[in-house]
Each structure stands twice: as structure tokens, then as C-alpha cells.
Subunit: 159 residues, 2 copies
Amino acid sequence: MAARGAVQAHTHNHKACIDDALKTARELCAARGVQLTPLREKVLQIVWKSHKPVGAYDVLDELSRSHKSARPPTVYRALDFLMGEGLIHKIESLNAYLGCVEAGAPHAGHFLICRKCGATEEIVDPKLEAALDQAAKRARFRAERQVVEISGLCAHCTG
Amino acid sequence: MAARGAVQAHTHNHKACIDDALKTARELCAARGVQLTPLREKVLQIVWKSHKPVGAYDVLDELSRSHKSARPPTVYRALDFLMGEGLIHKIESLNAYLGCVEAGAPHAGHFLICRKCGATEEIVDPKLEAALDQAAKRARFRAERQVVEISGLCAHCTG
DNA sequence: GGCGTGATGATACAACATAACAAACGCCGC
DNA sequence: GCGGCGTTTGTTATGTTGTATCATCACGCC
């Protein structure tokens, strides 16, 4: 499935990737009894346009084409909803947002962010999760949220 | 030494902790031939006033008492200098800054952030570092910077 | 003295995010 | 039908965080 696991951002079929993400989102929201309204779905689609994190005001610019009344709160509310449902992540080090490739499975998001091409890969690594849990446990710290963002150069850009 | 390793933010002698951090900073800057000017040292001292991350504009408020001419660029320039010398870290998830307890030893900063009391502990954990390196390596990603911020409740606040 | 470099002063602005209240919409019980 | 309620969206304004740009100052050096 195009949107799962280690996404090859430079080579994959991104249209299928978006379609899949939107389909998953519709199913999840239906199952949960929450409303993935046209506005929210449009925002999700905009965030998914690439595998690069997108800023809220970029979303707003794009959204404004179809939604003339869109304003910052319009966008932030939609982003908050989507984050609440686990459909997107916020990349804290960039103040930007990214589609979640594991929507539906509760998880912390861990990311590899290429500073050259901007492509950002969400990684799922049990060993890393274990190491994070252990580190918190050692300090008798009750972890609730993990922000793990590794920036550098992706395989494609070092090549 | 008060400022080293796992700081017990709730119990330790913080005055000694600040003094130690400032002393280390002066020594490091002298050794490197860079200028820890009075302005920069004052900013460092303000950041070190607690073990809670402090916002740039909070630094500015505090700095203004002694430096009437201080403006946002004044503060951001000092913070940039201090980060460049590895004397403070930026906590991305809070847009705030924190004194570095391992100044002088190049390292990624990994943090445990208590959402209740705000105390933020910098952790040094070789296993976590190894897990992060491995995760990047597996994706053939050349890591340059790591942002690792775990928020939740500290040992003191879980009771 | 004149020059180069690094640090600070000063003004303006850009980028990111939220507060607060109003209006619209669907749903449900009556 | 319609009145009340919860959810979503509209609207205006403002708060917070961070930079760009150019001027000025201090110091060492030849």
C-alpha cells in the first residue's frame, strides 16, 4: 500500500498515496462518529499534497482558492481536528504539518527531515520506541507525548 | 557538581548551579576565543534562572530591567550566539530556551519536559543515542540535528 | 588616523497562532 | 413545526514568536 511504512518520497505514486490517505481518513472518522467535513477533508488533502511538512499559512493560501472565507482560525481549527484524530502530525522544529502514514494506529510520530529537499519520512521503529520509554522510565517520568525529529540529508540528497 | 547529569530540579542548590554554568561558559568562550560579552552573559544568566525553558520575550522582559535598549533582535542574537556555542538549547515544542547542562561536550539535547511544573531535564542516554543513530542509518539518512522532547509528568509531579 | 571586524542599537516587518463572539446547521424531543 | 442544544464555520481583532535591514559603536591593527 502506497502510504504505509517507509515512504519513498522521490519515487512513489503520490496520487494513490493521497487517495489512500483520504480514504483511510473517511473510514476512520465514520467509524468514530466524528465529522470529516468537506472543509476538513480539503485541509487534509492540502497537507497531503506532498511529503513535505506544510505551514498553516501555506495551507491557508491553498485553501483560499476554494474557500474564499478561509481565515487563520479556519485552518487552525481544521488542523487541530486532524491532529486530534491522528490524521496529521505537527513538525515542531518547522512549525509545519504533515500527513500521518499510520493513521488509526495510536503512535508517537518520529521523523527524518531532509533539510535539502524537505522530504520528511515518518519512521516506525520499535527499538527507538523502547529506548525512549526506557529513558523516561529511568527518570521515573511519565511520558505522554514524544517529539522526535531528526534533520539532515536524506538518502536521495546525500547520493 | 550541581549542574551535571540528572538534575534534581526540585531539590538542588540552584544558585551554585547557575554560578557553575556561568563559570563553565566563561571558560569555554575564553578557550575558544569568542566573546561572552556582558550582554550575552546576562542573557545566559536569565535563561539559567530556573530549570524551566524560558521564552525569548520573557528573556527580553527580564533583560530590559538592566538593558533599557534591549529589543527582540538583541535577545535573539544573544540566544543564537549561546546556541552556537552549545551553552543553551532550544526546546522546539515550547519555542523556549534552556541552559545546557553539558556545555562543552558536543551532543544532541534530549529532554524530559514536565507539563505540570515545567521543569525540564536534559538526559544523556547512550542507548537512546544509539537507537536514534540506528534508526537514521537504517533509512540511509545522514543525521545532523536531533530534536527529542518527551513531555509528560516528572517524578515529583506524579507524586 | 583610517580600516576591517565583530557587537549592539534601532526601526520595521514577517510568520505563526489564538481569543472572542456571531451566525449557520443539523438533530432531537415535543 | 419549532425551540433548544451541540457542533461547525464565519468574522474581526489581537497576541506571540522571529527576521530583515541599516546605522552606530568599540576595538585592534597597520
